[in-house]
């Protein structure tokens, strides 16, 4: 069997609150094959978002290794990690996190500003990403001119525009109504099936988790299923 695109090995993470040590993840190991659509579920405080953050390289484990495409991301310094994130990770947040002063086009273009692409190439990439999420006709709209579902689509376009190795989504449907949530899940399924994107999604919603190939449960910092 081929090695997973993501390998989490014996990872432990503890947060400090004043003098208290709060263990969040305890000796977690996990392997995610390329092309997988994995859902992480669990009660609040179970450590699922922390695990997602560690896989995405926006937080560091206290011990253990996280390898993404055989790169041990825990060993990278801040600057190298930032560059790595820009090339390998696409983020989708619960609250979209679009910059309100930028149009949909400009929001999607943001990650490309860190690449060597010229203006014309960036334009082509952005238009393609917006077409994939079905918002080519809204590219000049500002976030406040879009519905929640449309904002999340723009956020997904931003996440895929650099063609990342991995898409991580933290409760992507958590702030949406049922219909919009279904549309977003359809889109994520499409990215996984048609574009072969590896996706790790944290969710509370069993319906959302059903769309994934696989669901792993976390409880009190440990993978239970």
């Amino acid at each position: 069997m081929a090695e997973g695109i993501v390998q989490v090995r014996n990872v432990t993470k503890t947060y400090k609150r004043d003098t208290m040590q709060i263990p969040v993840l305890q000796n977690i190991s996990l392997e995610i094959p390329e092309g997988e659509f994995l859902a992480l579920m669990g009660p609040s405080g179970s450590g699922k978002t922390t695990l997602l953050n560690l896989i995405a390289g926006i937080d560091r484990p206290d011990s253990g290794e996280i390898l993404v495409q055989n790169t041990n991301i825990a060993s990278l310094n801040e600057s190298a990690l930032a560059t790595w994130r820009s090339q390998h990770i696409g983020f989708v947040f619960q609250f979209y996190n679009l910059l309100p002063v930028l149009t949909a086009f400009e929001n999607v273009e943001l990650p490309l500003l860190l690449t060597k692409l010229n203006k014309q190439q960036r334009k082509e990439h952005v238009e393609t990403a917006l077409k994939v999420v079905g918002l080519a006709d809204r590219m000049n709209h500002y976030p406040k001119q879009l519905s929640g579902g449309q904002e999340q689509r723009v956020a997904i376009a931003r996440a895929i525009v650099t063609d990342p190795t991995l898409i991580v989504a933290d409760e992507p449907t958590g702030d949406l109504d049922r219909k919009s949530a279904e549309d977003i899940l359809d889109l994520m399924q499409q990215l996984n099936q048609e574009f072969k994107k590896t996706i790790v999604m944290v969710t509370h919603d069993p319906n959302a988790a059903e769309r994934a190939h696989k669901t792993r449960h976390l409880d009190k910092g440990e993978l239970t299923l």
Binding site: N53, A56, I58, D59, E78, S79, A82, T83, R85, S86, Q87, F91, F93, N97, L99, P100, V101, L102, F105, E106, E109, L110, P111, L113, L114, R158
Partner: protein, 385 residues
């Protein structure tokens, strides 16, 4: 889409706050520039002084007179080309607030020694001939609408009585810095009346203005003149015209120092206004900065955004302030021409205002930029925006 565009749009995200901050900076920069311009105007007389003129005054103070007889001795000092004298008259023109310099002079020698005062030959001829005539500077004429032939009534204070002078001419200045806000009349006319009313004060002058052959010998000639009157009842102090003018300024040094201090306090106010805005702005955007970091932007990019916003806001305010400075300074110059005969915005004032704007922009952005670039992504994402 470039970072600059994002900086620019961020500035105007809160339009009212940005407008108030920019307006605050603009007013402060304008006030800073105006104070510096006014302080500069104080020194204008000193800067405009001629290197080939020296002044001899009473050693104790220029308010004490010197005998007219000294003139004959001074004129014979080696290195002296020509001598004239002036007398501060004081007096009130209609109202005590109508302040301008009124001085008695010897028209013939005065116009030779002060070639920068330009008056037409006909008017000069009249001035020299008519003993109760006077010449007034162009600015003074404009301010009080004096015309040739007008009679200027003055109530004497240093020299009591009612005085009337006929305007023989209106003089202009050779350079912009030449003082064209004074009035000069015949010393003979003054002396005649003083001889009748206060004989003990007659035949005295305020100070001598001496034209010397070689400006490099100013110190030597000054020593020679002062040596002449050593141990007399009216010892003299001779100094360059610039030093003499600076002596007047020194009397106002406390006010000037106070004004300069205020101008720097204003810089402090600009800093506080902008720093407050930037701290609020950065705090509100912590989540956005975390998102940008998540996308791969580094701490340096975030610092650039904060610094850029702070700097741009300071510069916009600074430029508006400098633009405002011109009409306001022109208004002050017009309204206070008797106090500031030459009120002009120096290029150095503009340069310093721009420099301070940049400095304030950088310093005000420092704390929020440092904080924003150091914020951990996971902490930033938890922030409620």
């Amino acid at each position: 889409m470039k970072i600059f565009k994002l900086i620019f749009r961020n500035i105007f995200r809160h339009k009212l706050r940005a407008a108030l901050t920019v307006l605050g900076i603009a007013i402060a920069v304008m006030a800073f520039g105006l104070i510096r311009t006014m302080v500069g105007a104080w020194y204008a007389g000193s800067e405009a002084s001629a290197p080939d003129r020296i002044i001899t005054r009473q050693a104790v103070s220029f308010i004490f007179p010197l005998p007219l007889a000294d003139r004959d001795q001074i004129v014979r000092v080696p290195g002296v080309k020509e001598v004239t004298w002036l007398n501060w008259f004081g007096g009130v023109y209609k109202d005590k607030n109508n302040f301008f310099a009124r001085m008695a002079c010897d028209p013939a020698s005065f116009t030779d020694i002060y070639p920068e005062y330009k008056v037409t030959p006909t008017e000069l001829e009249t001035f020299k001939k008519e003993r109760n005539s006077c010449i007034v500077g162009q600015k003074l004429a404009d301010l009080y609408h004096f015309k040739v032939g007008d009679v200027i009534p003055l109530d004497g204070d240093i020299y009591p009585g009612k005085w009337e002078f006929v305007v023989a001419g209106i003089y202009t200045g050779e350079k912009p810095t030449t003082d064209v806000s004074a009035m000069y009349f015949h010393w003979d006319y003054l002396n005649e009346r003083i001889t009748q009313t206060q004989p003990s004060r007659a035949n005295n002058v305020g100070w001598y203005v001496i034209k010397i052959a070689n400006p490099n010998e100013a110190a030597t000639v000054s020593e020679r003149i002062d040596a002449l009157f050593k141990n007399s009842s009216a010892e003299t102090k001779t100094e360059t015209e610039k030093a003499f003018a600076s002596g007047f300024i020194a009397m106002s040094s406390a006010i000037i120092t106070g004004l300069q201090l205020i101008s720097y306090v204003i810089i402090g106010i600009i800093f506080l206004v902008l720093a407050n805005t930037m701290i609020m702005t950065a705090r509100e955007r912590i989540r956005e900065y975390a998102v940008l970091k998540t996308l791969g932007f580094t701490g340096k990019h975030i610092a650039l955004l904060v610094f850029g916003e702070s700097l741009l806001m300071a510069l916009i305010g600074g430029v508006i302030g400098i633009i405002l400075l011109f009409p306001i300074s022109a208004g002050v110059a017009k309204g206070m021409t008797q106090f500031f005969p030459y009120l002009a915005i120096a290029p150095s004032t503009i340069g310093i205002a721009v420099l301070f704007s940049i400095l304030v922009g950088l310093v005000a952005g420092f704390f929020p930029a440092t904080r924003s670039m150091r914020i951990k992504i996971v902490d930033g994402l938890r922030q409620i925006g």
